[in-house]
Symmetry: C2
Subunit: 363 residues, 2 copies
């Protein structure tokens, strides 16, 4: 590969002059500039990032740790998608700032993180973004003392800057939309218990009910997310059974994510219950492959992953530029409610008890 010396020789000038042409940091006569440009062209010269980094001790690199790539398999099951969208959001911001994103993958193993950070350190990254696959507390302490870091989709105890989704607000807004359509009996098939998102969203759900003066009925709330494993369909079936078995069945069902909503559609149809005519269904995530392909299209709450990634990248760049003291609290990023066809006003006088709930021939 041609060097600045080759270019200099070819153009009959000194290396330093070539450098000046490259960086436009000092006046160079037009004639010389053209000669140098011609030489660079002729030799196909491209400056060496390594040499620049060495001299300036600024790498222009931002490291990002994720499982997005190795989780790609599970993107099929939607689990890996969030990370990817976060990476996308970060990428857009970073590239606009003229830095380069170095993406490293955990391969799903947390114990590889120190290795990845070390590689980052070798490359002298200026900052690190750590992306989690779903909203959760982070138990590990990231190595890499002195390197500014921002956590995305997770948070820790030590006050590392973090960007997380506004789960409470999202479910609140979505539930409010459901209530505004006229529903009063609203069931909720939540994500797994213990998950951060579950806690926060149930809180948002209750807040919306409370504000509307609707009493919270624990019998209408059930965790049914088994991450797509085989027992899940049965679990949902049983939950729906319970819901529709009472005298006052729900007229709307909130689902912990769009995949659950998809299963609910199919089970309801199998029982001859029409969506949305007899029961409204809403999801969460706005996983468009589902929300737009299902029929009727799914009303759902957007999980603003891309925006979170962008926000995190901006926060990191600010940290780098100004040594800004980052906010002590995690930054919550909210998403929109996506209104589609699966949520309509409840049928007047509808009881929900229209089919024989014991006829499980489709299971």
């Amino acid at each position: 590969m041609a060097t600045i010396y080759d270019v200099a020789k070819h153009a009959g000038v000194s290396p330093k002059t070539v450098s000046r042409v490259l960086n436009k940091d000092a006046p160079v006569s037009a004639k010389t500039r053209e000669a140098v440009a011609a030489a660079m062209d002729a030799l196909g010269y491209v400056p060496s990032h390594a040499a620049r980094t060495m001299k300036s001790s600024k790498s222009g690199l931002i490291g990002l740790i994720t499982g997005a790539i190795s989780n790609a398999d599970e993107i099929s099951t939607a689990a890996g998608l969030p990370e990817l969208l976060i990476v996308q959001g970060a990428q857009k911001v970073i590239e606009r700032s003229n830095k380069t994103l170095l993406i490293s993958d955990t391969g799903g193993r947390l114990d590889r993180v120190p290795d990845l950070v070390r590689t980052f350190q070798e490359h002298r990254v200026e900052g690190i973004l750590y992306v989690a696959d779903f909203h959760k507390p982070l138990d590990l302490t990231l190595p890499g003392r002195g390197i500014p870091k921002v956590l995305v989709n997770c948070y820790d105890q030590s006050g590392t800057p973090a960007v997380v989704p506004d789960d409470e607000g999202g479910q609140y807004a979505l539930t409010k939309s459901v209530i505004e359509k006229g529903h009063r009996r609203i069931a909720y098939l939540t994500l797994a218990k213990g998950q951060e998102a579950t806690k926060l969203r149930v809180a948002g759900f209750r807040r919306a009910l409370g504000e509307a003066g609707i009493e919270f009925d624990p019998a209408l709330v059930q965790a049914t997310d088994l991450f797509g494993t085989p027992g899940e369909r049965q679990l949902i079936w049983d939950a729906l059974d319970k819901f529709f078995d009472g005298d006052d069945p729900p007229t709307a069902i909130c689902c912990g994510n769009d995949r659950l909503a998809m299963a609910v559609y199919s089970i309801l149809r199998g029982r001859g219950i029409e969506v949305p005519q007899e029961v409204s269904v809403v999801g969460y995530d706005d996983h468009r492959l589902i929300s737009e392909t299902l029929y009727p299209p799914l009303t759902t709450a957007e999980l603003p992953y891309s925006a979170m990634g962008a926000r995190a990248a901006e926060t990191l760049l600010d940290l780098l530029a100004e040594g800004d003291t980052a906010p002590a609290e995690a930054i919550r990023v909210g998403g929109q409610v996506k209104h589609r066809g699966s949520l309509v006003a409840p049928r007047p006088g509808h009881t929900g008890n229209i089919v024989d709930l014991k006829g499980r021939n489709e299971i």
Copy 2:
């Protein structure tokens, strides 16, 4: 950041000796080695990749160009997923070889590719992987003379090494499975006309029919992929109409991808046609979010993206190691047929004409 000189001073040895400890390329006495290790530890020393690259002119970097990140939005619509899985496969192989993958994103704009390649050149990448979002001929000539390259999911005229999916063989195997179940009237809702995959898969479909002595009926083949845009559902509806309108309706439907199969499920159900009892349905891609969540689970052909990425990375590493002459022909990677519940033997004497096809009240 501590340097090798700092470590040397701290340990009371010369920098060169520290270097020897780092690289184990010359004998160092145990005592010295320990002293150096202790010094490195105390100072938190991490060697500078830039300095190494400069000295050795080997960057240990492999560049990868993709739209996977920026297409993440469309992963929701399944379009971006392939690239991501390819990246995953490549990543695994590259990391095993102790090199680092530098992932660059086109942001969906082909005209940015030269920029990305230039950035790669600045980083002195040793090779480049170019990943396309779906199987297609590549019209652009990649810049970066002299850098070994491997194309994935695409191919060009200039004999650049390429890795592509075996679309013909995949559809052949899938269709053969359908035929082996006893189906003779098999419809095919293909992807968009003109696409590489469409041509190859229709060829595979016809080969399977031909071998089984089934006449190819053009009336049963229709392109219905509109990439999830609004008119698509109508288009599929019309196609199904046509299929089931004749006296000899199909007993099985092949779909160009899993998303189409998902729409087909929903439309058939809306018409009261049971899957798979009355009509078997198969997809293509094995997009597990769909194929495993649909009920019944979808029989489909795996599109081996991850394997393609891995294969491409191996090919590139071989090229680097041995200056191997790459195969002149594109490498075709085959996938498996995934047998699930949506494909069963046809009902004896079934005509397919069991519902009023004009009752389109669900559209």
